[in-house]
Amino acid sequence: MRDRYAHTGSVAEGRTHWRRSALMFVPCTLAVGALGIALAEGAIAASFAVSGTAFKVSASEVTARGVSSFPSSIGGSADDAKPVLLAAVKDGTVSDVCVSLKQKLPLVGEISMLVHSGADKPLAGTDLVVNADALTGGGGKVTGVQAGRDASTLTGAPGVTGPRGVFGVQADTAVAHDLRSTAYSANGGTLTLEKLEIEFSRSGKQCF
């Protein structure tokens, strides 16, 4: 028993000194709290990149400047590729937005997460790229429309172009009301949040 570790000799075996760790952990936790408050209040812009499962997004009003869109697909191979409409926005605002996500977790079971934000003041975002497979809207107005431009030459949202020979749409500005969308991925340069409310439920509650 005693010589079980004898071969290790007196090498620099060490251990974690938890009080020493706390020296770093506690201030960091405080910093996280401060950051969290700053983000929720909209003082700092957050950056997003999510995808994987379909999530539902609804918003009472969306405004955008610099829009490019073209048909695309997500999924690695041609067999399980999911057709989507890719929409890229240079910058824009969203009012009264709701995002809901249903996810099956290994132990917990099916759980849904709802995020509400921007009821009082719209959220502002830049460089957003969304892959959506369904989109409905009450109405709106789009200016500077070029529907049919080759997707590889789109200039609406900088840096986002599609494959050659594909139908592309771009617009200078867009305003849409009562949008509802099922999206598969959203990648945001930055997003300034506003009064974030996150709600978890197991009853399968969704935005719509």
């Binding site: 570790y5 048909p71 697909s73 041609a78 809207g137 139908f167 849409a176 945001g188």
Partner: protein
């Protein structure tokens, strides 16, 4: 009480450890691995690496997209690389843990603002825990009181003895109770203070024994780090839910090039797209007249010629994915008179002889009521679009289409990216109102449909062909369905026909381009389907 709980827990952990040690195979390998593990902040490294991997795995967006989107999305990659690299440093350069742990802690904190709130908090938390553990890790201080007497054998063996565990627990409790916890620990640290350097030196001597294992672990870790991004596509190919979507058909991964997943890049794939939608292509596909692919022209016109008197409501069947073939098969419900007019597209003539290009496409009688003034000289309206258009254009339809202040420019050419061109009909309208406009775009593997009501001021429309029933104003009578294709109209004639109002019902067209100052829409509904 606290001491009791601590003592009990350490006893439990030790017993479990002993039990595991007895039942697990390969004691020698595990022992040497354990020795290697204990000479560095191993678990701290694991936490930090796990945090880094989680952060880049959660966005799940492929690298090409992230690069295009810009700095914002790239931060996920950057921070996770810092965390993984920090973890590797903890494993292989434990003496640099102080600085590296501060770097990883700051990176974890930064991730909250830049990377999905720090991988939804999970990656950030793991990174912070790992950083703090590495910060708190000290060598040579496993059991100071034993080390003093019997350094070589004492260190590891001591941890196995319950008496020692209890002693440690008491010490911890005591220092807590006296309220200067850091003092107690600091003393321990001081006691060990002289040794760590020497111990680390000896660790280096012993390093070459652990070298092979270290190399294996290093390869594994770097492989893991390297696999984080490329693993994306592999996983999505395997799992049906596309955990790692690839939104860029063209920019696919290098090892996917040529696998067919990126076939949408080649315009040549498009002609094969729609022949099945037209059950009876007549085969007189005017070679050389239009360089355009055959997706649109064959679908629309055949519907028009097959049932010349299609009623107004026919258009609503178009967005359900059943294709134009179904519409063509349906017997024409009578609204207009049952007159079969040739569809002058040059692609589908409805079984009639191909008309000579250059002839007047429409029956002059249909236009008399529209008072068409002929404009010679400068073209009115907006100039023609100068940017390249796509070669795979959309099939559109509308229950009714009313153009106010229309200018028919005739036929012209629009360039495509590859240097090709499409011959199109070019119509300008001061205001265009479309009821129940449907848009159907077929690309390899997918169909995009849009259903919307439109009201568009100042618009230029470019179509390959157009069919529908003209409504004659005043008497409000619909003509039979007329079909006109761009290929039978001479291009770039120096005339433009101005019409104050033009109403067409049951419209179908191959829409190449719509260029508008403003589009007002309502009742939008867009969907993507798999073919």
């Amino acid at each position: 009480m606290f001491a009791f709980v601590l003592g009990f827990l350490s006893e439990l952990a030790r017993e479990t450890g002993d039990w595991l040690d007895r039942i697990l195979p390969a004691p020698r390998a595990r022992r040497s691995l354990r020795a290697w593990r204990r000479r560095r902040p191993f678990w701290a490294a694991l936490w930090v690496i796990a945090g880094g991997v989680e952060m880049v795995a959660i966005p799940l967006a492929p690298l090409p997209l992230m690069i295009r989107v810009g700095v914002g999305a790239m931060s996920a990659v950057g921070i996770s690389v810092v965390l993984v690299a920090g973890g590797i440093f903890f494993l292989f350069k434990p003496d640099q843990r102080m600085f590296v742990s501060i770097v990883t802690a700051v990176a974890s904190l930064t991730s909250m603002a830049t990377t999905n709130l720090g991988g939804f908090g999970i990656g950030m938390l793991a990174g912070l825990i790992g950083s703090s553990m590495a910060f708190g890790w000290m060598p040579g201080n496993r059991h100071p009181e034993e080390d003093a007497g019997d350094p070589p054998a004492g260190e590891g063996a001591a941890s196995a003895r319950p008496a020692d565990a209890a002693a440690r627990a008491e010490r911890a409790a005591g220092s807590l109770a006296t309220g200067h916890g850091t003092g107690g620990d600091g003393a321990g640290g001081d006691a060990a203070g002289g040794r760590p350097k020497a111990d680390e030196g000896r660790a280096r001597y012993r390093g070459h024994r652990a070298g092979k294992r270290g190399a294996v672990l290093f390869v594994l870790t770097t492989a893991l780090a390297a696999a984080m991004l490329p693993g994306a596509t592999g996983a999505s190919a395997a799992g049906g839910t596309s955990l790692f979507p690839l939104p860029w058909p063209t920019s696919g991964w290098p090892w996917e090039w040529g696998s067919g997943a990126t076939s949408s890049t080649t315009p040549s794939a498009s002609p094969s797209g729609s022949p099945q939608t037209t059950p009876s292509p007549t085969g007189s596909a005017s070679p050389g007249v239009t360089p355009s692919p055959s997706v649109g022209p064959s679908a629309g016109p055949s519907a028009g010629s097959g049932s010349p008197g299609d009623d107004v409501g026919q258009g609503n069947g178009r967005d359900d994915g059943s294709g134009t073939g179904a519409a063509a098969d349906r017997p024409g419900t009578t609204l207009g008179p049952q007159v079969t007019l040739p569809c002058l597209t040059g692609v589908d003539t409805g079984g009639l002889p191909h008309p000579e290009p250059g002839g007047m496409p429409e029956d002059p009688d249909d236009l008399t009521a529209l008072r068409p003034p002929v404009v010679v000289g400068d073209r009115p309206g907006r100039p023609r679009a100068t940017y390249p258009v796509n070669s795979v254009y959309a099939q559109v339809g509308a229950d009714s289409l009313t153009a106010y202040g229309a200018i028919i420019h005739g036929a012209t050419y629009l360039g495509t990216v590859g240097g090709g061109r499409l011959k199109v009909l070019w119509v300008h309208a001061d205001r265009l109102v479309a009821d129940d406009y449907t848009f159907r775009l077929e690309t390899p593997g997918q169909v995009q449909t849009i259903d919307v009501d439109l009201d568009i001021p100042q618009v230029d429309i470019y179509v390959t062909q157009l069919s529908g029933s003209l409504t004659i104003p005043v008497i409000d009578v619909a003509t039979p369905r007329i079909c006109i294709g761009a290929d039978v109209v001479p291009a770039n004639l120096p005339i433009a026909v101005r019409l104050p109002e033009l109403s067409v019902t049951a419209v179908e067209a191959g829409q190449v381009l719509v260029d508008a100052e403003t589009v007002n829409f309502s009742g939008l509904s867009a969907h993507s389907h798999t073919r």
